[in-house]
Symmetry: C2
Subunit: 359 residues, 2 copies
């Protein structure tokens, strides 16, 4: 994605080659963005022309699937990387991703390539990733369609076969297995928090019986490298008047905030707008309003009071206010949307009226 734009950005910053290093075994988002290869190795992107992937022999076949040029290093990984960074005498700067290169690897680079200067490209990359291309949007729409259908199937099953869901873990398992059936993986561990546990925003579901009361279900999948994210809060049993009022207030605040989405709107302002709608419940809203979604489930922009970003055409982000009463209950409603033609276009389309289930 946006390789040409990266090269244009490199030119402006006086960078001759960009080096994306993946020496650990975790998913490296910027490498996932520019090429889907996720094994050990490096990608060297020259100012002009085709990038090359430098990988060990055992990863050759996997790397070739990306369609990029592949070079297998023999004795020394760093010598091969160095060769691709330019002929001897080359003095242009080398772009590196400060947000992903560890201090240890940076020191190694400085030692192995002492003659060159390094320049950070992390903000250039996150700027490119901030707005999505039509290709990305088409993959993401499919991803959200699948994720919605999985949650819908779960709710139908909770209704028709409640005996299958004894514990929070059973609900999480249902969602995860359906995700696998679709050939996808989770974009983060499923959150299913019932009863008091609904008041813990990042709760991990346990094999303990589903408790009466609100149940927060936060779920996302990864499809063709792109993430989804959505939360629905359901109710086991019969909510009290006050609980229902809290739900309605949050639902209203979320809906009104979505309606305010437009180009140029400040992210911080949107957070504060939603907070204001929560009135007296504001102290119980203890996280940000939302975040960008793409190759990472949490990426720029941040929709928080401290954010300096403004909403732009083509951004994909969540709107997810929540209220949490410690040791009592919590409610969160989260949608992901695109800012398109100056309007919010929903990627998550599951209804938001409070669903209640027998316990």
């Amino acid at each position: 994605m946006k390789l040409k734009e990266l090269q244009q950005g490199m030119k402006k910053k006086g960078i001759a080659s960009t080096l994306l290093l993946n020496l650990d075994e975790q998913v490296y988002p910027n490498l996932a963005y520019f090429c889907s290869y996720q094994g050990f190795g490096a990608m060297v992107i020259p100012l002009q022309g085709r990038p090359v992937l430098i990988v060990p022999k055992m990863e050759e076949a996997r790397a070739q699937e990306t369609g990029y040029r592949v070079e297998v290093y023999k004795t020394s990984f760093f010598d091969t990387v160095k060769k691709h960074l330019g002929k001897p005498g080359e003095h242009g700067k080398i772009g590196i991703d400060q947000s992903a290169v560890s201090l240890a690897n940076y020191k190694l680079l400085k030692k192995r390539i002492p003659s060159r200067q390094f320049s950070d490209i992390s903000s250039l990359c996150s700027q490119l990733r901030l707005t999505k291309t039509p290709n990305e949007l088409s993959v993401m729409k499919k991803a959200f369609f699948i994720a919605d259908s999985i949650v819908e199937e779960c709710f139908l099953s909770l209704r028709s076969s409640p005996h299958l869901f004894r514990t929070e873990h059973d609900i999480a398992l249902f969602l995860e297995k359906k995700t696998l059936d679709h050939g996808c993986s989770l974009s983060f561990p499923v959150i299913v928090g019932s009863g008091k546990a609904s008041s813990v925003p990042h709760y991990e579901p346990l094999p303990k019986k589903i408790a009466k009361g609100f149940c927060v279900i936060d779920f996302g999948i990864r499809y063709k490298g792109y993430c989804t994210d959505m939360t629905r809060t359901i109710y086991f049993g019969k909510p009290s008047r006050k609980e229902r009022d809290h739900y309605l207030l949050l639902q209203h605040a979320q809906q009104q905030t979505i309606a305010k989405v437009s180009e140029g709107r400040s992210c911080a302002e949107l957070h504060l707008f939603c907070e204001k709608l929560l009135g007296k419940l504001k102290p119980y809203f203890i996280h940000s309003l939302g975040h960008g979604v793409g190759v990472q489930v949490h990426e720029a922009p941040s929709l928080s009071p401290k954010s300096k970003e403004k909403l732009r055409e083509g951004m994909v982000f969540t709107i997810e206010p929540g209220i949490y009463f410690p040791n009592r209950y919590g409610i969160r409603i989260e949608d992901t949307l695109i800012l398109q033609n100056n309007k919010p276009v929903m990627l998550t389309s599951l209804p938001k009226d409070l669903l209640t289930f027998c316990l």
Copy 2:
């Protein structure tokens, strides 16, 4: 684990406090090792006394489950971290993990805490993790018992209900779903490579029909924070004489190499020993003999020709020779074992004679 040993190591290095930062959303192995908390935040470990976890409000409940002291930061994360790193005037060095701190976060630290010196503790941590405590071994034994039983169930099912397994993906899905049923997660994406795909060491299974020939199945789970790793190669159809001979040669080499495991044995030497047993097939053995296993599925020691480490009592590591004939087939047999009482004690106990299945 081994918190006191870390504090002793800090003392020797003149470190007053160690700061483990987890500002990204990936699993951070050293934090997983010292405390099971995996959300956003930091752990400050003083030279003496109890560590503290510094986390945002929304992660308070999760952090408290670790049993460590928890402080929720209010306005500034770094100011709270700084406060715990010592009173004004404190000059002792701050231990950081160079292998995990990004260059960007290191620069931020230097800017926010300019008066202090930083010292690397990454090798101290990996040294501590190199040999396992009795507690760790007991968790790992349970983990491997579960993983073995899942693979055994898969083989039984392949035998009794072959119609359930049409594609490589079906086999991977079976293993992953059983993992979830045990309340565990995968320690890495399941590898199921049949036919030609068996020659690709890190192949990702596809929803394509299982092909005749060798099928490499590499599978590991994560249980209570600890990983397992094992590979078996099975055969769909009837192997040729040559294929059977290749399998037997590899099986023999693996078994003989395991028998050589003893205290003080150099890791490089063990790799070379196995390579030698492969004779003419040596060029087709294109990766390392093995690696340590613990909170990470790949950790120290490395059993490779370049390794400088020696085997020590309490180490847990794989022995996994493989031979790969590009575009034809591959075979890998991988066990994980403990070096205990100067002998190899197997953690994986599934038989290794070649299993054949109808296609």
